[in-house]
Symmetry: C2
Subunit: 887 residues, 2 copies
């Protein structure tokens, strides 16, 4: 029969899955003979069983709990509910992964009308005992029974008024007894039954409450943010109470074995004498640094230092410890690997290697890849920031820090930036026409839109700082004025944005550029040594490409050509093409775009210095390039020598019911092969041009939105014919590759066919996710929150790849592709390419590379290394070398 | 080495795949000693090779052709290009499936400046010979070389003017020689080379032209309409010319062994003496019936009758034969199974069984299931139709015939129909709000929209007659007037619509109801005997359900509950629900809908008499239920005690970028579980009500748009809880099943998981096709034509299931579903459920049933029988019995 309850001294300290992090560490500390208040752990399996059994604890588990309780009581020589020597416990959650503060805790359990007297007698401090009891009633009522906190607060206020006192601390033991009577009366009224006097009943109810708290809304949100599966469940730790508030020889504190902010190697922590844990947190009294303990109680201090040192060595990582001193005796309440800043994580990892405590492989596993993000964007100068105060806050839509003068339109931003001015683009919301302005600006601030709004998605792709959905903004576009909380800002005023916090400042705060150097560079070197997956970047401009190379990108996995078309000097030509009704007219317009596209590619090739570049052909539906408001259509019509009605008819005809599933991607090239011809010509001519400068490029042309082999064949024929013509005209020879996105489910399902024509696949997991789930990212926001709340989804499938469904399609496509073309190159270029859990999946299924935004390249390098350390595969030669050999 | 050219006497008459239908039949007739002008067949493999080799005929195949030619010349004792006894041939296409008139034919090949003299001498008719030659030059130039026909016509006109004659026939042999000289001069000018005098060059070019014609646009369209794969290719038949125009003892004709219109058993055909095939077709002279031949040439007639009789016996089917009499001798040019009307197909199939020629199984295989459609809708009374004349024509959007007085709005149609008036609904285009009016009307006529417009799709679903996109309509809705070609029609005028032809008549034409009786009923009986697949129907109303039962439906596979919500008396309640911001408000509105839904279900259960009924819960996005035009919003706001602004904000908030991928299906029930509760209550209460009348119903509740097991679990819990509550309240016991649509790719991919909760799957192949291909039906129309023209798609994936891509998902889902729940019920309820090729697929992959519109039920029964005859599987007990046993 399965066992669900283990004494600390019985439990396996290495099995966090079963005992939770807290339980496992308590078991370990116990086994090392450290002073741990004893108790027992109810396993995570008991939690999942509780849910499987319809949210109840079955009798056999209750029995196990009571058996364990009896043993702990016996060891402690105390008894639950005893008038002489009462046994009190804390009941705490303890999940496999640390979820600080997300779940429930009940302290002082075991107190009732009888045992409170025992506590009073034993401590010689009746006021302390009755205060514990009234706190326990409050906590139990709130956490376990769901009574409202405010009712209890109201009763306290009434008593204080009756007694004529202001502070809780002024209430005497007798006052508190009166208060307890009132509390119990209220409890009976509210719950329809007496406050439970049987500590065993209290205990079982508390355990249930902790189990329930695994699924409270904040825990669900936390799990989603941290990729923790809902199926894990939490363990419950029942531990003898020790009191840090028993007088001046008692105290309580927390400490880290190294500085969690800088990583510096020194004991770092604070404590308070005559206090409980909550007092340290509450901040009413100022705690003392841990060093001070050496002066006041050298023995305890030395004991603590020795324990801390051993804990760090045993766990091979920086420790975060809680301790209590009860009447001069040290007790360790828990230890865990400490949370730390990105900077500290890197320093600690390097130091531990240098100290010989861990290997470089182990060091890599100690750093959360996502954390690196904080080191990769410009940051405010710490000193300058200290004196600044945020004037409002929006959503932290894209990290980094930026300052600039306010610009109310994309055009204005482009113009002013061209003159060397630093501007921040402030918009109600952004649209594709704003792209150039977003690019020119230092940062973007919008009044509307969420984390997946246009502004947020595009800014993240660019690595630009963005604060979105800042409701405090009142924008008067006509008069170029911005009001925030009644204060007026003009185009001459500075704003500073913090894309990592969402803070907006009404002043200029200097920023500092990110760079990969020192310990960070060392970590990246180790990562490159161990990873098998190559890391490319999504970049549409020479600037992005150069940034990515700086961060270690080995090539471009996705260069979106349409972003170039939105530029102010190009959009007239693309619009001219769209409104042309003849192939001749379209060719005329495309001829204007050709030299610009060629220059784009030359710039990108040069920035990439011979690394492979994958260029995706025109993808979005054409209506994204035309205006839709009457006045804008009128203006454009006048410019194009069309009547308003003519242009309106063209625009209306471009309307689609479901643009996501409309006339876009390769479908455009099927209808208008001349677009693919122009783009091919630009790609090849640019490669010829840079080859004359000694940069050898093997262009990779990527046809988007393929769903059928014949579609690809059709477009490929156009591309090959054009490429061969251009090469012949230039008397040049050059390798080039043609491949496709796998972003339509049918492409994945028929990948064996498609691989006959495609030399490489790049998984476009944004669209693939949309089509596989059957919801569009633009619309899903309306109901996904409901899905998280109702535990239907645990994470955002647009942020973290759905490995079950979408992942199955990816696997089908890989299998199909390899069966036809064993050496097919496989990559991913959706936004998931920068997500560590997705990168692990990509490694495991055998992709050649991941491609992500420039600022995520170091994250991807680390995540790829971790994946290969955990599940090694043969490492291919670096991509750049292979490509050059192929020439 | 592969052989690509076979003499008729060498070829295998049973191998249509290799020799094409025409070639195989010529080989058979030759083997039976019938008088066939000899020749050879170039195989379909030669055609595919031609394309594989880059559209050229390789030397080895050319050699084979010349070898065969030499043998045929030797047997005939004639020579290509000979001055004495010239050998002339016809070059004709001959595909595996008959594609009449779609590809190219060249006659009289072998004529040149020399051989024309031989022909003149041999026939003693120089005018005939030169006329043959000039026709050949024209045909060769047009068909093979692509010169424009009109240029030749112009030259003829010039000669006629110069000679002062009106008719071609008035030109003399000398005139024709002059014409030939002019033709050749033009040819040289147009083509830059002389008209080829070498008959072998003529031959190879002609063969190439036939190969090319396999991919001309009309052949591609024909293949798409008839499900013929483009990979098959066409064979080419090179056959000695015989002449029916050599004088009064020569002639040519076509005949059928049975009447192709009625199926009556008698030789049916016509012929013309002194004529070539094209003269029979041209209709300038009136041909004589085949019986007449008995009087003029008894010997030839008897010979022909004997041959016809043997051909029918050998081929076990009605034959369509072409013959020529050259100077008193009969030649058979070709035979094939004759095309026939649906009525004839049924009669012939039954007669052949009664005559002992074929078995009932074989009879079933002789009927094209799609053809039955013509017999399943009301038809105009044939006599009444004869005297009527169409006033305009639209698209034949939904078959059937209807008459009624003109009604310009859905409301009016409902009102007048309620009073017993027959009306035709005439609209610019229809929208979901018109559904009730469409239902009340006899037929629907729209001015705009194509075959997949709202009107067309909904009408087909209802089995209602519809003519769509009739551009001649000028509708003056305000004054309730309709103008067609300048003629005014009022609401008191009758229109008659033919949904099978698109014809519109400005008068009342009586119609006749369809019924399954006589031979048709016999065929259906046989079909039921042999099929393994069950056939259900998609029906939303008692009327549809009753029609489907009449046509043999064994249950309802899809009852769409939202169609009921659009009814005039319900839409206020659903709108009230939508605008409610509280659960309480929504429940109040839903309470109003409950009794109506319950009545709907009672009516449907009663019509189905105990057969299983699958009810799909609310599916469409809520914005479909609210108005979007300002005046309509204002009106509704006034009715709902809201301000315009309030309602406008609600409507705007419902807007979705991609409604197809938005907040709909089960996602609505996740957000508003109270909708699922109301629908469950209605389903169960209705079942309880009818069970009291002795009708045992096992309701099947179908949750749409599931993508994840947890989604289904969530909604299922709501359904089960409600159902159990309702049953308990009514003190009733009842089986009910809960299943899901598989219409989201992710549902198919994770079907093993989903089957844990779903008792049945119904493949919603409309949405599944959209998501798998990544294009929406509403938008794809804009580019799919381009896809057909460029041969990327061969058929419309919304009409015929894409068995490769979507089919793979279906197979994955079946495999997954069965692995978890071996007895899972599997059906299909997309529009594909009525498509014969899809039905065959459904049979082969092991579905339990297909569900289609009522009018397609007989088609599905036949198609299912054919599938099981071709690929037998164990037949399950009839569904209704099994269901009753389960109770």
């Amino acid at each position: 029969m399965a066992k669900y309850v283990y004494l600390f001294k019985e439990a396996d300290g290495d099995n966090k899955a079963l005992f939770g992090g807290k339980g496992a560490n308590l078991a370990k500390m116990t086994s090392w003979g450290m002073p741990v208040p004893q108790g027992f752990t109810i396993t995570t399996e008991a939690c999942t069983k509780y849910y499987d059994d319809g949210e109840k604890i079955v009798d056999s588990v209750v029995e196990e709990i009571f058996d364990a309780l009896a043993k702990v009581e016996a060891d402690a020589g105390k008894k639950f509910g005893d008038e002489e020597n009462p046994f009190l416990v804390s009941v705490r959650s303890g999940a496999r992964a640390s979820m600080p503060g997300m779940m429930d805790t009940i302290l002082n359990l075991g107190l009732n009308d009888v045992s409170v007297k025992g506590l009073a007698r034993k401590t010689g401090n009746p006021r302390f005992a009755y205060d514990c009891y009234r706190r326990f009633i409050q906590m139990f009522s709130d956490v376990v029974m769901g009574s409202s906190k405010s009712s209890f607060e109201k009763i306290i206020d009434e008593i204080k008024e009756a007694k004529g006192v202001k502070q809780d601390t002024e209430l005497t033991a007798e006052d508190l007894q009166e208060l307890i009577a009132r509390f119990k009366a209220f409890y009976k009224e509210d719950q329809g039954q007496d406050f439970p006097q049987d500590p065993k009943v209290q205990l079982i109810e508390a355990v249930k409450a902790v189990f329930r708290s695994w699924n409270n809304p904040r825990a669900i949100v936390y799990r989603r943010m941290n990729d923790i599966p809902g199926s894990w469940g939490t363990a419950v730790n029942v531990q003898s109470m020790v009191f840090g508030n028993m007088g001046d020889t008692s105290g309580t504190g927390v400490a880290f074995t190294r500085d969690p902010s800088t990583g510096e190697k020194k004991l770092y922590g604070e404590y308070l004498m005559n206090a409980q844990g909550e007092d340290v947190v509450a901040g009413i009294r100022t705690p003392m640094t841990i060093d001070h303990l050496a002066e006041t109680n050298k023995a305890v201090y030395d004991q603590f230092v020795a324990i801390a040192s051993r804990l760090e060595k045993e766990n091979k990582d920086m420790q975060d410890m809680e301790f209590t001193i009860e009447e001069g005796r040290l007790y360790m309440l828990q230890t865990r690997n400490g949370k730390r800043t990105a900077r500290a994580a890197i320093k600690i990892a390097c130091d531990l290697v240098d100290e010989g405590m861990i290997t470089d492989k182990e060091a890599l596993l100690k750093i959360e890849p996502k954390q690196l993000d904080a080191l990769l964007h410009p940051q405010f100068n710490a000193k300058a920031l200290k004196s600044a105060k945020a004037i409002c806050q929006g959503l932290p839509a894209s990290p980094g820090a930026a300052f600039g003068k306010i610009s109310f339109s994309a055009e204005e931003a482009v113009e002013r930036a061209a003159k060397g001015e630093k501007v921040v683009l402030v918009r109600l919301e952004t649209s594709p026409e704003d792209i150039e302005g977003m690019y020119a600006a230092q940062g973007v601030l919008t009044a509307r839109g969420g984390m997946t709004s246009h502004a947020a998605v595009v800014a993240r792709g660019m690595g630009a700082c963005c604060v979105a959905g800042c409701g405090a903004l009142k924008i008067d576009e006509d008069n170029k004025l911005l009001y925030i909380n009644g204060v007026k800002y003009t185009t001459e005023d500075y704003l500073s944005l913090d894309g990592s916090t969402g803070n907006v400042y009404g002043e200029k705060i200097e920023t500092e550029e990110a760079s990969v150097s020192g310990d960070f560079a060392r970590i990246m070197e180790w990562a490159d040594k161990y990873r098998a997956l190559q890391v490319r970047t999504n970049a549409d401009t020479p600037k992005d490409a150069a940034t990515a190379v700086k961060f270690g990108a080995e090539g471009i996995g996705l260069c979106r050509t349409e972003h170039m078309f939105f530029a102010e000097d190009r959009i007239p030509a693309i619009r001219e093409m769209i409104v042309s009704t003849t192939e001749e007219g379209r060719r005329k317009a495309l001829a204007k775009l050709l030299p610009m596209q060629r220059e784009d590619f030359i710039g990108i090739y040069e920035a990439m210095e011979g690394r492979p570049v994958t260029i995706r052909f025109l993808d979005p539906p054409l209506h994204e390039f035309v205006p839709h408001k009457e006045e804008e259509i009128r203006e454009l019509a006048a410019n194009m020598n069309l009547t308003y009605e003519e242009l309106k008819a063209i625009v209306d005809n471009l309307h689609e019911f479901n643009p996501m599933m409309g006339h876009r991607g390769c479908r455009l090239s099927v209808t208008y092969p001349e677009i693919a011809e122009m783009q091919t010509q630009a790609v090849i001519e640019a490669a010829i041009a840079v080859s004359k400068k000694g940069i050898n490029v093997v262009p990779e042309i990527m046809i988007p939105l393929i769903g059928d082999i014949k579609e690809l064949k059709y477009v490929k024929d156009v591309v090959v014919k054009t490429a061969e013509r251009v090469l012949a005209e230039n008397n040049a020879k050059m390798a080039y590759h043609i491949g496709t996105m796998i972003e339509i489910p049918r492409a994945a399902l028929t990948a064996d066919e498609i691989a006959k024509e495609a030399e490489f696949f790049s998984f476009g997991t944004n669209d693939l996710t949309q089509m596989t789930f059957g919801f569009s990212r633009d619309d899903a926001g309306k109901f996904l929150n409901e899905y998280y709340e109702k535990k239907i989804f645990e994470s955002d499938p647009f942020a973290r790849l759905d490995q079950v469904g979408v992942g199955k399609l990816v696997k089908i496509a890989i299998e199909g592709g390899k069966s036809t073309r064993p050496d097919i190159k496989l990559g991913i270029c959706g936004e998931h390419g920068g997500d560590p859990s997705t990168i692990e999946f990509c490694h495991n299924v055998g992709l050649t590379y991941v491609s992500c935004s420039p600022y995520r390249v170091p994250i991807a390098r680390l995540a790829a290394a971790q994946a290969n350390i955990l599940n090694p595969r043969v490492k291919p030669a670096p991509m750049s070398t292979r490509y050059i050999q192929e020439n």
